[in-house]
């Protein structure tokens, strides 16, 4: 009996402890777990599904995209919908994991999804694209940038592909004469990072700079970067290219700083979000450049409105992923309108109509003016470079 009391007490301690940590949770309203299919599948509307990580290591991307897409859906519905038909948006969590992403896809299919706006990250996107092409369901990924994300002909994307990002980064560095000696630190276990690196190295041959070090790390080995940084340092790199995600980049910046390595860091869209890392010393990110199609401080009407709305709804400055999500929904709306789709058409008919329409539309988006698509599903738009100044992303001159 006494032992039972002891174990009950211990269990209670555990429970209290788990509550004690809750202090910093209340402020984070977007992070609560989503219930399954809690959005009602309203009849007579277009049912749009979304998939991405709103928990897990990549949660910043998923949350931003969900929020950006939701703003676009609300705007379109307020303005009367697409050809008078409203949109219903249901976003499911996949934690950035391919298997969970396919589960989320199946859930959404059960819900009645007709169009998919997802997925947020590359690896799950490739898995889901294989499923959606079997179902012939129209899919547009806001930020799945690996080449294979738009392998099937029903899949389109809003962002640049990894190869594009690599090429454009190298071009940008070369044309603006940012550096003579460039070092690369990349994640060889990640398709996004290695995809960019390959193209970057290839394009670098054409440009007026030299790659002095190309150092890798893997998913199992991503806390200690001392060797990679020291190699870049000893080769005298005046620019370090980081085609990686922000969590590792934050560590690299801290470790480079403690090693006294002063250089310029240049990254791609994966670095977007680095300022959102809690308790991160933003001074370390000062001067970091990244190639991204969206800058929150741009002065055009569209961006200003979007940023204001986003701040009001979610209390923070939107990053590129929010803009990708927003543009994806507008692309869907434009294609639905052009293809004269009706919500009672079959999934496959909608897909056929939209596939054709996508190559004919041109949208004024947050991530580019007059974005157009070709049959492969890739967008045509210009890249912008952004530099982190005074703790905010600002457009480079």
């Amino acid at each position: 009996m006494k032992k039972k009391i002891v174990s009950v007490l211990l269990a209670a301690t555990l429970a209290v402890m788990s509550l004690a940590g809750c202090g910093n949770q209340a402020s984070d309203k977007t992070s609560t777990a989503e219930g399954k299919n809690e959005v009602e599948a309203e009849e007579g509307t277009f049912l749009i599904g979304g998939i991405g990580p709103v928990t897990g290591e990549l949660a910043i991307y998923g949350m931003a995209e969900r929020n950006g897409a939701q703003i676009a859906v609300d705007e379109i519905n307020e303005a009367g919908g697409v050809n008078g038909t409203k949109l219903t948006f249901n976003f499911q969590d996949d934690e950035g994991d391919a298997e969970k992403s396919v589960n989320a896809y199946n859930n959404l299919k059960d819900w009645g999804m007709q169009i998919l706006c997802g997925t947020v990250t590359s690896t799950p996107c490739i898995a889901v694209a294989a499923k959606s092409s079997q179902d012939n369901l129209f899919q547009i990924t806001p930020s799945g940038s690996a080449a294979d994300c738009i392998g099937p002909d029903n899949a389109f994307r809003v962002c640049f592909s990894d190869p594009d990002q690599g090429t454009k980064s190298a071009e940008y560095i070369g044309e603006n004469k940012l550096a003579k000696k460039v070092a690369i630190i990349y994640d060889s276990s990640d398709v996004y990072s290695s995809g960019i690196t390959d193209k970057f190295v290839k394009e670098a041959e054409e440009q007026d700079f030299e790659i002095v070090a190309k150092e890798a790390f893997t998913a199992d080995n991503k806390t200690d970067f001392s060797v990679q940084i020291k190699k870049a340092q000893s080769e005298g790199a005046d620019l370090v290219f980081l085609p990686i995600y922000y969590s590792q980049a934050a560590l690299i910046l801290q470790q480079a700083n403690s090693l006294g390595f002063e250089t310029t860091f240049f990254g791609c869209d994966g670095l977007d979000g680095i300022l959102g890392v809690e308790n991160f010393d933003q001074k370390l990110a000062e001067g970091v450049m990244l190639l991204t199609p969206f800058a929150a401080d741009a002065t055009d009407e569209l961006t200003k409105n979007f940023v204001a709305k986003y701040k009001e709804e979610y209390g923070e400055v939107p990053n590129q992923f929010a803009a990708d999500g927003y543009d994806a929904i507008y692309a869907i709306a434009a294609a639905l309108e052009k293809g004269e789709c009706k919500p009672d058409m079959s999934v496959s008919d909608i897909c056929e109509a939209m596939k054709k329409a996508m190559t004919e539309i041109s949208i004024e988006g947050l991530t580019g003016e007059k974005i157009t698509w070709d049959e492969s599903g890739a967008p045509d738009k210009e890249a912008k470079a952004v530099v982190i100044k005074d703790g905010a992303y600002s457009l480079m001159e």
């Binding site: 301690t13 949660a59 806390t223 001392s226 060797v227 990679q228 403690s258 890392v277």
Partner: protein, 293 residues
């Protein structure tokens, strides 16, 4: 100079592995079970310090003390709830339970602290030591980690050899049944082992997070596995073995990254492990136990 500087990096990475491996080897040596949740107790320790120091703005000393208390209570609770009922079950069942506990703690971390990474403020305020005109740089955290490691190692060896509770632990590890007959309270001895092991995990937690200052619910998982490898490398169950194994593992990892390939470093680390185990199956300092017939 490059070599020495890489060597120092290796030692600083290795000292973190060694510190975690001490907790692993302690629990394995006494309770004869692999506590795969050890790495996740480390993560909880890190978050405790983060909550107290960064969220509540209190002193790091208070944070460290609280973290040791929280982890100790957590370790004992996990042992009582998840492992004790399985005392008589096969070792495989306990191993699977430990993996379950590990996932439970990770997911609890996800629920409470969310997945977004937190930048950890170092609890060590000793500045870096620069040698040879700044060509060699030893961080304060590394020094503290190595010294802590050595103190803990000596204290543990003293505790096990000289104190009554420590000798009871050795007795339990050798033969639970006989220890019980000699009047040793096996259950409370194993609880004490878990309490010490988890307290060490808390120390490893805040030193790990000070050295590599990003905290996520998965922070403890990979270093935990590496430290387990280090413990096997040094001879699991042996306390000085864990220290040596940890340091060697760190050095091999960094040197293979620096001189062979940054992509292959893990493959090389595990290759060395296989070689060591082929030559000396019980690890560097492991005892060979001959079965008496």
């Amino acid at each position: 100079m490059g070599f020495i500087s890489y060597l120092i990096d290796g030692i600083s990475l290795g000292s973190v592995y060694a510190l975690i491996a001490l907790g692993y080897t302690m629990v394995y040596g006494i309770a004869k079970m692999l506590n795969f949740a050890h790495g996740d107790v480390i993560m909880i320790g890190g978050y405790t310090v983060y909550t107290i120091v960064s969220t509540m703005g209190l002193s790091p000393w208070l944070g460290m003390a609280a973290s040791v208390v929280v982890c100790t209570v957590l370790g004992v609770a996990v042992e009582k709830i998840a492992y004790k009922p399985l005392r008589m079950a096969s070792p495989l069942a306990v191993l699977i339970t430990a993996i379950g506990v590990s996932y439970f703690l990770q997911n609890m971390g996800l629920l409470i602290f969310t997945a977004s990474p937190k930048a950890f403020t170092s609890v060590v305020s000793i500045s870096n030591i620069k040698l040879a005109d700044g060509a060699l740089n030893i961080s304060g955290v590394t020094l503290v980690t190595i010294i802590t490691c050595i103190i803990i190692m000596i204290a543990l060896m003293f505790f096990i050899k000289k104190t009554k509770a420590g000798r009871a632990m050795v007795a339990v590890s050798e033969d639970k049944g006989a220890a019980l007959l000699m009047g040793i309270d096996v259950n409370s001895t194993i609880s004490l082992t878990f309490a010490i092991g988890s307290g060490l995990a808390a120390v490893a937690g805040f030193l790990l997070c000070s050295a590599y200052p990003t905290l996520t619910p998965y922070t403890g998982a990979m270093p935990g596995i590496k430290a387990f490898v280090a413990a096997v490398f040094g001879g699991i169950g042996s306390i000085p073995g864990a220290f040596i194994g940890g340091i060697l593992l760190g050095i091999i990892e960094i040197l293979s990254k620096a001189y062979i390939s940054s992509q292959l470093s893990d493959a090389i680390v595990f290759l060395v492990l296989i070689l060591v185990l082929l030559i000396k199956p019980t690890g560097i300092l492991g005892k060979e136990i001959h079965e008496k017939v």
